[in-house]
Symmetry: C2
Subunit: 338 residues, 2 copies
């Protein structure tokens, strides 16, 4: 879900993307590193090199139905995408995707974040459930939570300061946006609920140390591969009731997810998995390519930082990135700017 | 927005689509006309005949960006789709799409319905704004409105019975789902707001008597062409502030709309417009084809109705369809079942 088009480490009610519209030259060519705007087209040259391997062709009479698989709880999930997601996670080893886990596809993981807020809250509670995240957190979480003024959930701020004796949902982003740190829950009260946003838990951004196996995990195609215009995210969910509530949310919100986007995501994730499993006949796979780019960009960034006489300082140790710029978005900076 | 996968004329809190998952044989082959389930694949043979004209090909390195057009208020709307929508409406003459109208694309018009509820409500009002529709109305409206228990808007039932002296939004579906009637607002109080859902205001479902020119109009690709798996809807909006709020809603909900689906919708809408403008070298255009199918189905339905000894009675006069079946969905029946 961590998409960070335009973001700061400080929660803000103002639209972050709308500002781009007002100033369309969002990818500046001037020498200032603009950490507040960006667009993850970093992998474009990589996919260009793939040629026809990632091409999709869709005939006019395909995908006329609402339904992708009526035997699946997530009836709007294309079986090819379900399979590609599970295969890639198994190859990479970054998330548990045994067959008893439910995969829910969304229009970007942003929609799945909303779906999880709905699924983890309850109309039976006397008060909206509190939603917290440890600062610094992705700047859109507060806005997304507060947006429709739901009586089901409400934004309750920094998890580090959360001391209410009330039910809560903790949003954990790991590696974190904006600071790249590896994270777990910080409140840790019995009966708590958590959303684990693992948008950046891929080999180009972080060392994969174990298969993540949380109750509800979010991933997004845009950060895994750079295809931001393809609004595809997926959740891996253990509990069937939660999964069913998420499906319901996406049914009521948008009656599913476009098949064309799912088909393309399935194709591209499949190619990545193939290249990881068969390294002999290809050059760099996506993760190796991305890791090299991140390292090069990190080098440039550090250089600029050193020249800037302490405007920001940063260190990187096994991809743990710490920055103290007032509006730092280091992961985004690395990802979006050369 | 009127999609009517599984619906009755009676509001229900129960998921209508989920029941399909439980009973996957949703398109029954038995002789009973099942008006409660369906999938609009009626036009599949038509599109099959189109062959490569409607084929889309997408390379792996295309559509990497979040942005479709940063100069447009609706920055996630593909210019090709914007152009195809305006062109088709001009050719058909069913909606005013002058350049001062804003086109907002959504993940199905379902998402745009939610966007309009958000855009037409106000956090400054002391109470949630009332949302009404004249019965019989599309069964999902109440659920979609109540779903997240927003403090911004609330479902207030049948517009025919609305007598509160409070602000309200009236949802008008014309031709109406489920009964096919041509409709206008029924409350007509000063300062009112309306959502005009014109999903079926196309030549195969209704005579096009004028260019609709309401403040906020919804259309959906699934009913215009039968491509339900492509979650594309569009709104035509007069007021810039409302349009901007809708864009904001879709930004916060899903960061836009998949480019692949938009590209495909643009291609297919373009082919329809071309065939309407150049009738000489083709057979039936989509609307002629659809109209013929509707007539055939209407004939069959009437026959069944006569044999059923008054279980339902119906009449059709210039596509005004009236039915008194307890769970009638006549438009759906015509559309979905042969």
């Amino acid at each position: 879900m961590v998409v960070g088009l335009v973001e700061t480490a400080v929660p803000t009610a103002k639209s972050t993307i709308s500002s781009v519209v007002k100033k369309p030259t969002f990818l500046s060519s001037d020498p200032i590193i603009n950490v507040a705007r960006g667009d993850p087209t970093i992998y474009e040259p990589y996919w260009k090199k793939m040629g026809d391997r990632c091409k999709v062709v869709i005939a006019g009479d395909e995908f006329m139905s609402y339904f992708c698989n009526t035997m699946n709880l997530c009836w709007f999930l294309l079986p090819e995408l379900d399979n590609a997601i599970r295969t890639l996670h198994r190859v990479v080893g970054n998330a548990m995707v045994d067959d008893d886990r439910f995969i829910i596809v969304g229009n970007g993981s942003t929609q799945l974040f909303h779906a999880l807020l709905y699924a983890l809250s309850s109309p039976d509670l006397p008060e909206p459930i509190n939603v917290v995240a440890a600062a610094p957190f992705y700047s859109s979480y507060p806005e997304e939570t507060k947006f429709l003024q739901s009586k089901l959930y409400k934004w309750a701020g920094d998890a580090n300061c959360y001391d209410k004796d009330e039910p809560y949902i903790e949003v954990v982003t790991s590696p974190n946006n904006p600071d790249g740190s590896i994270r777990g829950t910080v409140v840790n009260r019995e009966g708590s609920k958590a959303i684990h946003d693992l948008a950046y838990y891929w080999p180009q951004y972080a060392p994969i140390t174990s298969k993540a196996d949380h109750d509800a995990m979010l991933f997004t195609f845009s950060k895994a591969t750079g295809h931001a215009g393809t609004r595809i995210g997926w959740a891996i969910v253990k509990d069937k009731v939660i999964a069913a509530k998420m499906v319901k949310f996406i049914e009521v919100s948008s009656i599913g997810v476009s098949r064309e986007a799912q088909l393309r995501a399935a194709k591209i994730l499949g190619v990545i998995a193939d290249d990881c499993r068969n390294p002999d006949h290809k050059g760099e796979n996506l993760f190796q390519y991305g890791r090299r780019l991140m390292s090069e960009r990190w080098g440039k960034l550090r250089e600029v930082g050193m020249k800037s006489n302490g405007v920001f300082s940063a260190c990187q140790s096994t991809h743990e990135i710490i920055a103290n710029s007032p509006a730092n978005t280091l992961i985004q900076t690395l990802l979006l700017h050369g």
